[in-house]
């Protein structure tokens, strides 16, 4: 079992409490973890990574074991402590406040 911590709005969307667990078949990678997460919670499709390209949405980041894995290959094995459930895989919304898109105008 892999533990996943989702940001507030995605927990609300998925209807879950703070932490979810997913079962990954085969090698535990970011890709297989997200595949399993989206299979268990289909409403999350498109909110973490693009439907078609499967690329991470630009304002989300992946943290685990004190490391930023956002730029790592999604096919690299996850750290052992994440793969065996000792530590969670964290999906975090980047701090990007102060948007100037205050008005949907023009």
């Amino acid at each position: 079992m892999i533990r996943v911590l989702l940001p507030h709005h995605l927990r609300s969307l998925a209807g879950v409490e703070k932490e979810v667990t997913v079962q990954v078949e085969g090698s535990a990678t970011i890709r297989s973890l997200l595949d399993a997460l989206e299979a268990a919670y289909p409403m999350l499709r498109g909110t973490i990574r693009d439907h078609a390209t499967k690329e991470r949405r630009p304002l989300l980041r992946y943290f685990a074991g004190g490391e930023d894995l956002s730029s790592e290959s999604v096919d690299e094995p996850l750290p052992p402590a994440v793969a065996d459930g000792r530590e969670p895989f964290r999906i975090v919304g980047a701090i990007a406040g102060g948007s100037t898109r205050g008005e949907a105008a023009g």
Partner: protein, 371 residues
């Protein structure tokens, strides 16, 4: 007794305001989805308890929520809006080619005849249709692949398709409006489209009367007059009496003919409403006075409606989706502001009250008249 339900999409969630047919005592529920921006929330005319809501932000992208119980509970439905084939390029702000990229749904238009059919107008501009209540979406690609597509350009809010007009009497006939491409009409259910911009003039274009490139902000129509269209353009209030084949300006004596929203009275097809905004550089009401203007002659001659609206120091904006009209008699008129106020008139605009004063910035207002 009849009642009304006002659906308010804001920058930080959805609010539902309800009242009986007297429209005096209001109950405000929300926020639902607190903290998340909602560009549009609209119910089905066939089944008013079915409501679609467009959540779109930079973090999590597009989520489409559907309620089947009048907005009490929601579930996420399909959020995959895949352009048909190679998306191609349109013009960017500086006139250079820019790839077509889906960003968000600006507008839902539920079918007036089928509860499971709903259209979505999106940024970058395209129209999608769902026949299963929003679970799956399919583009009507004839619009985006119109030969003029590479000439379309974004307005300040993005290259959004924000107006979709369906005609219950002639279901094959559709109109859409895009900022900043213009108006397009289809006579074959959305397979083929043609520009409907003759008579429009926009000074920001190299050729002001060009067929493509007008920043249309909103189009409204009375159901009894399918050939009469009213438009709030970036500048200019316009009307067409021949189904968009030609347009003429009806700004008349408005204090400013810039604005975003426009709507038509429920029972008087020649009575229309706009909210003048000072300019495209300032985005607030002229003289700091929030006034709805009503014309009972389909334009040209306008009357300021001020009773109950702030007449000093008011610097809010009223966005394109943020006005709606119920079908009671007299009809109620509703609008929301970027300052978080929702104003309502239960007498066709003569007198206004604030239903809410401190909501998040209002992006959309729709009203349902319930039996």
């Amino acid at each position: 007794m009849s009642s009304v339900r006002v659906l308010v999409g804001t920058r930080k969630g959805v609010f539902v305001l309800t009242a009986d047919g007297k429209r005096k005592d209001w109950k405000i529920e929300g926020p639902q989805f607190g903290g998340l921006p909602f560009y549009h929330v609209k119910g089905s005319p066939v089944d008013p308890d079915r409501i679609y809501a467009s959540q779109a932000d930079d973090w999590f992208g597009q989520v489409v929520h559907r309620s089947d119980d009048g907005g009490r509970t929601w579930r996420a439905v399909g959020n995959e809006f895949k352009y048909n084939g190679e998306p191609g390029k349109h013009l960017w702000y500086d006139g250079t080619p820019h790839p077509w990229e889906f960003k968000r749904v600006w507008h839902f238009e539920p079918s007036p005849t089928d509860r499971d059919t709903v259209y979505a107008g999106v940024e970058d501009a395209a129209i999608f249709r769902s026949a299963d209540g929003g679970v799956t979406w399919h583009e009507l690609p004839g619009l985006r692949s119109h030969p003029s597509g590479p000439q379309w350009a974004p307005g300040a809010g993005g290259m959004c398709l924000h107006t979709i007009l369906l005609d219950p009497a002639t279901p094959q006939r559709l109109f859409v409006a895009i900022s900043a491409a213009g108006v397009f009409g289809s006579q074959d259910g959305g397979v083929t489209w043609s520009p409907k911009t003759r008579g429009l003039s926009s000074n920001f274009l190299p050729e002001p009367t060009a067929e493509i490139g007008h920043c249309v902000h909103r189009i409204a129509r009375h159901p009894s007059r399918p050939n009469t269209l009213f438009m709030q353009k970036h500048w200019d209030v316009m009307r067409s009496d021949d189904g968009g084949e030609s347009w003429r300006e009806v700004s008349g004596d408005l204090p400013s003919d810039f604005g975003f929203t426009i709507d038509v009275h429920a029972h008087e097809p020649e009575t229309i409403y706009v909210v003048p905004i000072k300019s495209d550089s300032e985005h607030y009401p002229p003289e700091g006075r929030l006034r709805v203007y009503r014309s009972r002659s389909g334009g040209d001659e306008w009357q300021a409606l001020t009773r109950g609206l702030p007449q000093s120091d008011c610097y809010v904006n009223v966005l394109r989706e943020a006005m709606a009209i119920d079908s009671l008699d007299p009809c109620g008129v509703y609008f929301g502001t970027t300052g978080g106020q929702v104003y309502a008139s239960a007498d066709g605009g003569d007198n206004w009250t604030a239903l809410a004063r401190d909501l998040p910035a209002v992006l959309s207002v729709e009203v349902q008249t319930l039996a």
